[in-house]
Symmetry: C2
Subunit: 374 residues, 2 copies
């Protein structure tokens, strides 16, 4: 039942051709106003166990999609497996921020800077680019304090600091011919697909998903690293194994567990204030490891049930669509007490209020999504 | 050919029931990465002339949708028709900002404050609520200057100032029994559907669209006024008449023309820096009056061709979906010289770059949209 290479599952519609009028993904999330549906979000969901059995499927889970930042934990496996985390004495906060799409809050920036310092590097080595933090309040706080954004504020800076720690490890290996002062030069260009660091990262992604990335469509991510199109079924399988380690070599399984535990201990590091991932993991602890990606992608490991979940919204909407769908999936697949269930329902059936605090509508998981998730 | 009340056109699918798997709106806009479609936006488009003839139709144009802020020009008609604009000596900037969803930039705030002062009121009379300006740079500039947001910064503050000017006019009518000092009390609650001001505004919307709003689904907008669900065909008809005045009483036709000309003279007032509406009208002048609304709605009057356009994206995406679709509609329906056509193509076929400036993909009008728009 382990999924093999591409072309195995029949794709119900091509991503390149046609208008998708034929067999289409259903509505997973709807926005209501005045009691009627104002907008709707279509998408697909795969729930898979660590043996590769598809436990629930909604929409097309065989079409390859770019997972973007949802797979940062898979891209961080080499950081632990290579021995870099041990040699550089990385703690849980640093491992958690390596899996993050963070808000660029002062805590994130400090941990990333510390991580780079442990590798003998600084923000100048980051190749992710700089942007103002996504969280507007953080932008305003920075503006008041006269701080301009650097690459440390980039939501991917922790992942990139992890890549640089891998570079440090590769450079330190016997025969690498890189002395400490040559590290910066060795690491340069690490975002490129042919760089030794990115080759490690890509190999890890391929091993975890069981999908042949040589044959996959490749794009460039917002932070300049390659992103590969992978079917939801394979992504969900990888996350089932992140949660259980089943069918994985001991080193990879241990690395996944260490990253999961690090994030469970420091969920703020993986997102930040008011972020879905952070809030859910603060509440549910190690029972859920979830990670949003750009363009409406969401992946989760549910270790207690041995399941992995992968979601892609057709329209690429994260903040209100993929999150609501993921909340419904967690409600359906995780054993929750009444308080936890109520907390999660507040994320899958959201009252919308306007600037005056007046209730104007709701965002909610569509009936079909709840039915199919059981 | 004038559309009449609801129930006339067969709705191809209900907004209340089912998953919409049957006859569905086509993909109008697609986001590409690495040469493949990463995300897609479905929707519907109506292009209608002032006699009510449907010139082009894509998807379901009979299903009522909430037009939200796209109809601010229709809601501003009473400001001119009632005589308020003349009596209060409102200029073009003030009329333009009454039709705006503005960025909350200093210029917008100043004009709205001036408009309120002409009515003998101030920001305390606004019932739209306060929010930080949508444009992040404006937020940061305010934070640096130590300015907190007020109702003047609300993107709808100009529309609300217009409502208050109508209140001032109604209060001044013989027999109203309201003296100048009683205006604030008379205006209070103007956002409610039963207030004399909102009754004027709703009557104007009904007259302009030819749609029976007593029978329409009603919701509450972000700024607390009612919003009524109206089919795209009726919205496009109203905008065709905004552009031409055909079939309208002389007073309403003149009011629409005065508002259009005011916006064409001050397109910055209707949006602001880097905003689609502002940029397009700065470039094309009176040949286009276009206005975005929340949840993926976009309406336009194209006076030179005597056409109205109304668009609704199923998923509610404005910034990249409704705008790209509207740009394609303008390209198809407006006579443009080469430079103008190139400018508009830059808005309907957008190169996406990441934080490092590397080209990573594109947003573009789908082939089906361009074909059907002819």
């Amino acid at each position: 039942m382990v999924p093999s290479g591409p072309g195995e599952g029949p794709s119900r519609y091509s991503s390149r051709h046609g208008t998708g009028r034929g067999c289409m993904n259903p509505v997973l999330v709807e926005a209501l106003r005045g009691g009627v549906r104002e907008s709707a979000h279509r998408g697909a969901v795969a729930v898979v166990d660590a043996d590769g059995h598809v436990v629930a499927t909604i929409g097309d889970i065989e079409r390859p999609i770019f997972p973007r930042s949802a797979v940062k934990v898979l891209q961080a496996l080499p950081l632990v497996e290579s021995g870099a985390a041990d040699r550089l004495n990385l703690g849980d906060e640093e491992l958690a921020v390596a899996c993050a799409s963070h808000n660029g809050e002062p805590e994130h920036v400090a941990v990333v800077a510390r991580m780079l310092a442990k590798a003998g590097l600084d923000a100048g080595a980051l190749e992710c680019g700089a942007h103002w933090p996504y969280r507007e309040k953080v932008q305003r706080d920075m503006a008041r304090a006269g701080i301009e954004p650097s690459a440390l504020h980039n939501n991917c800076s922790g992942k990139h600091a992890g890549f640089l720690c891998v570079a440090c490890q590769l450079a330190s290996q016997p025969g690498a011919g890189v002395d400490r002062s040559g590290l910066r030069r060795f690491a340069a260009g690490y975002v490129g697909p042919a760089h030794p660091v990115m080759r490690e990262v890509t190999a890890s992604l391929q091993a975890a998903t069981g999908f042949d990335l040589d044959q996959a469509a490749r794009g460039t991510d917002g932070c300049s690293i390659p992103t590969f199109a992978i079917p939801l079924r394979h992504l969900a399988l990888a996350f089932a194994r992140v949660g259980t380690g089943a069918h994985w070599p001991a080193g990879r399984a241990a690395a996944a567990q260490r990253l999961r535990v690090a994030v469970a201990r420091h969920p703020f590091m993986v997102g930040g204030s008011d972020r879905f991932d952070t809030r859910v993991m603060q509440r549910l602890g190690e029972r859920v490891f979830c990670k949003v990606g750009a363009e409406g992608v969401f992946c989760a490991a549910l270790p207690g049930r041995g399941l992995g979940v992968a979601i892609k919204m057709d329209d690429g909407n994260n903040a209100r669509a993929a999150e609501v769908a993921m909340a419904a999936a967690i409600e359906a697949c995780v054993d929750l007490d009444d308080g936890e269930a109520q907390f999660m329902r507040g994320l899958s059936d959201v009252t919308l209020r306007n600037w005056n605090g007046i209730e104007v509508g709701a965002l909610r998981a569509a009936a079909e999504l709840r039915e199919k998730l059981g």
